[in-house]
Symmetry: C2
Subunit: 326 residues, 2 copies
């Protein structure tokens, strides 16, 4: 019997691509999602595969998780809140969806005997570090959002479970991800803004925030690549952290120029706030991905291409923007 | 009206000394404790002071916390599990007592308007770092215990609340603490073992684990010192981490020799396990305390003196060991 994979957040942006990728290689996959931010449509192709099983459930429900995970060996834990800005209005949300959700996943692994976890964390755990590009062994600066704090707490739990319960863990610290099935983030916000009024655009921050964006296909390829490489070692108690991002960054202003260009618009820009777009926004997030590159993986799409792909996808799938035709 | 102080874990080892110290300076103090590991006897002197009020309550109860905290400006958050070894048998315990407890304290601060938090974390958050003595800005190695993971999660929450809600936070990463009112840890275990049979002693680990121990009076003095210095700046959103420990370390074998010597015993030693006493035990925990020393604070008692004081106190308060007379 082959290895069976369990994917939380299977109907989400990254999760659904990961599911497709695993299925395309003939793997057996159990997808788990509460459909709070995931979409049925993203699993349309997956659900036609006999090696795929979908379970509707929430990571806050330990019984449902344990039941669904039975017989799986490898767990990709992608479920959780990834809207950074919710923290200030709903401080409990990241704690429950991310920290406690990860705890429940780890407890389900203990109960079912699943031995490998791969987890999507965030490059925001580095805080506003002066060290850019930021390597994995960079000292952490203070957390600036409840979102990043909950991801760091999840990482810590995974590490402690690896040490204490003989599992192995791979933690991916991600930059923001772009591409097909993109559902929220700055591109969506700009797009929505321009749909409402294409003559002007409100920009949170001074436009000079520098960000590195990874294409979702490159992101999933990296997870796959690292899984194969790492699990070949069959190491128990092992935990490894990998930054995942591109080797370049752009300014928010670049991104706006590209988005507007693709849409054939020339909006007037209105900047609000200072160097930070909002509390918790990191003015310069750029990760050193040397460790991931050393595995042989490399990202194929640059940021401009990813932004074009994202805008094109939103235009073709306007139901995601819950707005009228562009 | 002067500043009112709130102390969680007020009836505990460090908490009760902190309460006494604040009261001795005429401060107004509300002590909060669930008496799960704290003792009434430790607050005997405090309860005779008119400026002290004791509230029985648990940090897992947000309503009780918020009610008790009303009118307080400065919160010392010391409550929580500090028995590192419980994690493997009760993985939920550290999460609930430490991570969720800290979240509840922070939410109570938001609700009541308390603006300053001082938190006792642990030097174990550094993991098994190769950098010793370990400075505050050392990159974190993987967490090896659910205890340390829960403290790191608490630190992250405090940092995010400082950034998001305008409070200020001071995080103390402690080595193990010794002195009067000591209730558990290696000295207590050795003492209990020798009470049962003074001809032999079982030692977890190879005896060469190197540890730095801080006297409880020095610990409380540091917290006081740093509070005064830092809050004079009246900085909002500020968060600072301070290592608290001594400038020396000893081997567990040294500690055994001193304890046996004070008790006039020469037990046969039986070492079990390898370099780690247990999963999560750090074979070399020694913190760089330069940052704390720069404030003008310095520890007055060396490790040998602290161990003697601890053994003497246990002998004089044998009810704590729940054993017969030594």
């Amino acid at each position: 019997m082959g290895i069976k994979y369990f994917v939380t957040g299977a109907a989400g942006f990254i999760g659904s691509h990961l599911v497709d990728s695993l299925l395309s290689e003939g793997r057996e996959v159990v997808g788990f999602d509460n459909f709070s931010t995931g979409y049925e449509a993203f699993l349309e192709s997956a659900r036609q595969q006999p090696t795929f099983r979908l379970v509707r459930g929430d990571v806050s429900d330990p019984g449902a998780l344990t039941q669904a995970m039975k017989g799986c060996q490898v767990v990709f834990h992608l479920a959780g809140n990834d809207n950074m800005r919710l923290g200030l209005s709903q401080p409990r949300f990241d704690l429950e969806q991310n920290t406690l959700g990860t705890f429940n996943v780890l407890e389900a692994m203990r109960a079912t005997g699943a031995k490998t976890i791969l987890f999507t964390s965030t490059g925001n755990v580095y805080g506003e570090t002066p060290m850019t590009p930021t390597p994995e062994d960079c000292p952490l600066s203070p957390q600036t959002s409840l979102y990043a704090a909950s991801k760091l707490a999840s990482e810590a739990l995974i590490e402690a479970y690896c040490a204490g319960f003989g599992i192995e863990g791979y933690i991916f610290r991600l930059v923001s991800v772009l591409g097909e099935r993109y559902t929220h983030g700055h591109v969506m916000e700009f797009y929505r803004g321009l749909l409402q009024d294409d003559s002007k655009l409100k920009v949170l921050g001074d436009g000079h925030q520098r960000k590195s964006y990874l294409n979702v296909h490159d992101c999933v390829a990296a997870m796959h690549y690292i899984l194969e490489l790492e699990t070949a070692r069959q190491a128990r108690n092992r935990v490894e952290i990998y930054n995942l991002g591109t080797t370049e960054y752009c300014e928010i202003n670049d991104s706006i120029r590209w988005i507007s260009g693709f849409l054939g618009l020339t909006p007037q820009l209105e900047y609000v706030g200072g160097p930070h777009g909002w509390i918790g926004d990191n003015p310069f997030l750029y990760l050193d991905v040397s460790k991931a590159l050393k595995t042989g993986w490399k990202p194929d799409r640059n940021i401009q291409e990813s932004i074009r792909q994202t805008v094109t996808w939103i235009c073709d799938n306007e139901w995601v923007a819950e707005k009228n035709k562009c």
